[in-house]
């Protein structure tokens, strides 16, 4: 059940030696090719020669999402643009996207990492896999696509949207694997039930990720569809989906440590915490060429273990995520920041930026409702104009966030004002 036994089952000493060699190379590369890293290292008085092995990693400064934004679009790329064969982008708080770039080798390694995960989930070259993540700037669709092709499976690039068509093809093609967000898979499961074709599907494995979900939900998916469901983790800044995933024992997500070095730190002191303790996950890429990341703070809260897994793999495992250390929301697999809503409303100019986002999960799909106060100056005495106003807000929000939201107009001053940091989000999903 292991795609790359040489790498996934290395002894801890061998792994440390490999990581050390790769870190030294990476640090050299970024120091000489990326002004941002060079300046940051010079500021703390570090030279590439000071990094002799993986244990020296703590000498290096952290990198954050803000650094990526500040260097938009290609400022952190470590190779000439001619070497970049693909970019992906994700939405940011200020309307500026975060852009990530890949060399041909980066794409190959990404496909290797995803293939390891699909293989770990029990999928093989004989399988037919429907990729139902969004294709496009989002890394989900193409990431899983290339990985599944690398595995040698037959890939059906469904993307998202037409659930009935997806199920029809699932039946007609006798698809055995699916990759999508867990909430979408639950929606698919319900539709399958409604269509009365639960007994006809040949599906056996799902690889789900791109949004937080619980062990309960994973078991529910397994039960409702009679399949195995696996959790796949990733973030575009580091690579995309495929950084880590759980094996058949579901006791944490195996990190591809030969490519990504994980650390867990206390978000307040930024000091490393002991294995088993919850803290913020930090990644350093060890082989990335296009966009190497040095100690990138993911803001994801988790814990780590280095104990050998029952599956035989020796790679470190991170636990299911305990939340985010900032206010980013993941809704239907899309990163959403409350400040995006605020910026969109301000830009529109027809409402006050007094709003409340209410996130919920109804019929296993994330829902987003945004309450917006109707100020007198924007208020008319015709229902159709009020309806036009909410439609317009809905449109602006959709443009800004990339997802649909239900807009509810409310009375002025009816949204609670708070002292200090305003509360703009009520998340009723209870995921943790």
């Amino acid at each position: 059940m292991i795609w790359n036994e040489a790498k996934e089952c290395m002894s801890r000493d061998e792994m440390a030696a490999l990581q050390s060699a790769r870190l030294v190379k990476t640090v050299n590369r970024v120091y000489h090719n990326v002004e941002f890293y060079r300046k940051k290292m010079q500021k703390v008085g570090i030279e590439p020669g000071d990094i002799k092995g993986i244990e020296d990693i703590t000498k290096l400064p952290y990198t954050t999402k803000a650094d990526l934004r500040d260097n938009y679009p290609f400022g952190l790329f470590a190779v000439p643009k001619s070497e970049i064969v693909r970019v992906h982008a994700s939405s940011g708080t200020t309307g500026k996207a975060t852009v990530v770039g890949y060399t041909r080798r980066d794409i190959d390694i990404w496909a290797e990492c995803v293939a390891r995960i699909l293989y770990m989930a029990g999928l093989r070259r004989e399988d037919i896999i429907q990729v139902a993540y969004g294709y496009g700037l989002f890394t989900g669709g193409l990431g899983l696509h290339y990985g599944a092709e690398n595995l040698g499976a037959t890939v059906v690039p469904m993307s998202t949207g037409n659930t009935k068509k997806l199920i029809t093809m699932m039946l007609d093609f006798e698809a055995t694997g699916i990759a999508c967000t867990p909430s979408y898979l639950l929606h698919i499961a319900e539709t399958i039930k409604e269509m009365g074709v639960r007994d006809q599907i040949k599906l056996k494995t799902a690889v789900c990720g791109a949004e937080p979900w619980t062990e309960q939900m994973r078991l529910q998916i397994e039960e409702e569809l009679g399949i195995n469901a696996h959790d796949i983790y990733g973030l575009s800044e580091i690579m995309g989906p495929g950084v880590a995933a759980d094996c058949e024992f579901h006791k944490g997500l195996h990190v591809h440590e030969d490519h990504f070095f994980p650390e867990i730190i206390a978000p307040d002191t930024l000091e490393p915490v002991a294995p088993g303790e919850v803290g913020e996950l930090v990644f350093t890429t060890l082989t990335k060429e296009g966009l190497p990341m040095i100690r990138y703070r993911t803001k994801d809260l988790t814990s780590i273990t280095y104990d050998k897994c029952e599956c035989g793999r020796t790679t470190a495992r991170i636990s299911r995520f305990k939340g985010r250390s900032d206010d980013m929301l993941v809704i239907r697999g899309v990163n959403v920041f409350p400040s995006q809503v605020e910026a969109a409303l301000l830009e529109m100019g027809e409402t006050t930026p007094h709003y409340m986002m209410i996130v919920d999960r109804v019929n296993n799909l994330d829902t987003l409702e945004i309450k917006v106060e109707v100020e007198e100056k924007f208020f008319t005495d015709e229902i159709k104009q009020l309806e036009q106003l909410s439609k317009k807000i809905g449109h602006v929000i959709h443009q800004a966030l990339g997802i649909q939201a239900k807009i509810t107009l409310v009375e002025p001053k009816s949204i609670e004002r708070s002292m200090g940091k305003a509360v703009h989000v009520i998340d009723n999903r209870n995921l943790v």
Partner: protein, 140 residues
């Protein structure tokens, strides 16, 4: 010719209507006519009151969004077919009706509050051609 109407945005929440009536009562404002246009999430309360600017003031002081719009208040005989005549006049001018409300509690006359796409034109056509059917615009 036109009458000032006060419109208030009211969320569909328990007790909100009572707060509106309390504001008006405290301000000693009398309501001549009203209608609540509702959607699933909020209502729009339109009222003809004794003192529209004051009503707006007291409602706003209580945190409501209130605005004043001008509407036509049309008086006509309480006889079958008169409304049809009025609509005919509007139709001739291609005026559309945004909303209207009214009630007839008297034996001889009925009163209608109307907002059309062009209230001035509507008032004009009533004053020119309404007389033969005894339709007139009154000012509240």
């Amino acid at each position: 010719m036109l009458t000032k109407q006060v419109s208030v945005f009211v969320e569909n929440k328990k007790g909100r209507m009572e707060q509106v009536s309390k504001c008006l009562s405290d301000g000693n404002i009398n309501i001549a006519s009203m209608i609540l246009a509702d959607t699933s999430e909020y209502g729009l309360l339109r009222m003809i009151v004794s003192d529209a600017p004051k009503a707006k003031e007291v409602l706003e002081a209580a945190g409501f969004s209130a605005i004043i719009t001008k509407v036509l208040v049309v008086k006509f005989p309480n006889i079958a077919g008169t409304l049809d005549k009025l609509m005919g006049l509007f139709n001739e001018l291609d005026l559309s009706i945004e909303y209207m409300y009214g009630i007839s509690t008297s034996a001889d006359s009925a009163t209608l509050v109307v907002k059309t796409s062009d209230n001035d034109a509507a008032a004009k056509v009533i004053s020119e051609k309404g007389a033969e059917s005894d339709i007139s615009v009154i000012c509240m």
